[in-house]
Amino acid sequence: MNLFSVKEFQYHNIGPVSFDVKAGEIMGLSGPSGSGKSLLLRALADMDESSGSVMLDDIEKNQLPAPQWRQKVSLLSADSQWWFDTVGEHFDLQKNKSLMAEFEALGFPAEVLGWTVSRLSSGEKQRLSLLRSLQNQPEVLLLDEPTANLDAENTRLFEDYVKHYIHKASAGAIWVSHDREQLKRVCHIQYCINHGQFEKC
């Protein structure tokens, strides 16, 4: 069964395109700058208006309140934004008892919650941003160049953790990247954008 189903979708210079993402599957997407990849992800998360149909578990996006849709279809961009001073304030430990174990799995000590956001490295920020999104237990992850600012080691950590989550939660993901090698490593299926259309590659 298809987890995430997109039909006749059109936004900006992309489409109309149709594609599906199955549970446990990561779809890779690459294409030249300006081909509209990031805008596509934004529109799928309902951050911009688009035409066509997007369904999650057979529920059309407009049938859910927008915040609920964005919790289930979670968009993660290359530069995450933080609005409180410390890391911990962005997390809800009451709601997520297992959170500490997750921090550990991504290589953070228990003190991480007290860390000041402005002193985080870009690698730390990106891993924490992933954890922050996963608090909502999304069913689909939209990853927009998530490792663009990371070194090789952090990139691997990030990739492994995403793969682990997708498998464990039977979720799906769309991974946008310039790095074809990376997409080969993490994705089950790969598309290139060419003149607004998807091509297998």
Binding site: A45, E49, P67, R70, L76, Q81, W83
Partner: protein, 263 residues
């Protein structure tokens, strides 16, 4: 017991302004022209409003008072817009600033006239016009500050607002910090002037009444009334303008939409 000022008295005071202009001219400070123009403007504008009030007092009619009130509110609404760093769409901006002024100044003045002051008739211009004027002048500042802060900060922090939306927060949650900060920005001036009243500054209205021969304690009572009205008016005005603005900042799918708000 009010000592009437003659034209000669005013001319004496104007000599001070002329001397200042002369000094600025001799010292090349480049502000003489502005001083003189502003002095002429204040003389003409105040004389005109004096004449308007004089004929209003001679001819107490609710329709005239409503007309003056409408003009005052519209000018204040326009003034709020012109104080914004980021220009709002004019038709929309004017609608929300006038709505907020109406909620704050107009309704509060009406309440004060009908329930507290109870002049005969309740719309007597001797009370209605100065009261509305004082409320408008102060709430206008509060509304303009709150509006400017909300629009500026949310523009600067649009990436953060969108990040919060992407994490599944509602538009209300995503903007609550900015809203709180804007409320503060709008209210601080009046809170400060309440705190400083009597110790640091003698408020203008009270001073005026004392100069005109009123008993100090009576003047103080009026000043306290005015302070409370201004505070309530500013508060309601800022709350309503922030509410209207933040509704317009998002669309029905809770997306951040500056195109709905800004020029």
């Amino acid at each position: 017991m009010l000592i009437t000022l003659t034209s000669f008295d005013l001319s004496l005071a104007s000599i001070l302004v002329l001397l200042l202009a002369l000094l600025s001219w001799r010292m090349h400070l480049g502000i003489s022209q502005q001083i003189l123009i502003a002095a002429v403007r204040t003389t003409v504008q105040l004389l005109l409003i004096g004449l308007v009030l004089k004929s209003l007092f001679a001819n107490v009619q609710i329709s005239w008072i409503m007309l003056i009130a409408t003009v005052m509110i519209s000018v204040a609404g326009w003034e709020i817009l012109s104080r914004q760093k980021r220009q709002l769409k004019p038709a929309y901006g004017l609608t929300i600033s006038i709505t907020s002024l109406f909620v704050s100044s107009f309704m509060v003045t009406l309440l004060a006239l009908l329930v507290i002051i109870r002049a005969d008739p309740w719309y007597h211009p001797q009370y209605a016009i100065p009261l509305l004027g004082m409320l408008l002048g102060n709430t206008m500042t509060g509304i303009a500050l709150g509006m400017d802060r909300l629009v500026q900060t949310s523009w600067q922090q649009r990436a953060i607002i969108e990040q919060r939306l992407m994490l599944g927060q509602s538009s209300v949650q995503a903007i609550e910090d900015i809203r709180r900060e804007s409320m503060r920005a709008g209210m601080i001036p009046i809170i400060n002037s309440m705190a400083a009243a009597g110790l640091v500054s003698l408020p203008g209205m009270m001073t005026g009444q004392i100069l005109a021969g009123a008993a100090p304690v009576e003047a103080v009572k009026y000043q306290i009334l005015i302070m409370f009205l201004i505070t309530a008016g500013t508060g309601f005005g800022v709350v309503s303008v922030l509410w209207l603005l933040s509704k317009r900042l998002f669309d029905e799918r809770e997306r951040l939409r500056f195109d709905q708000l800004l020029k």
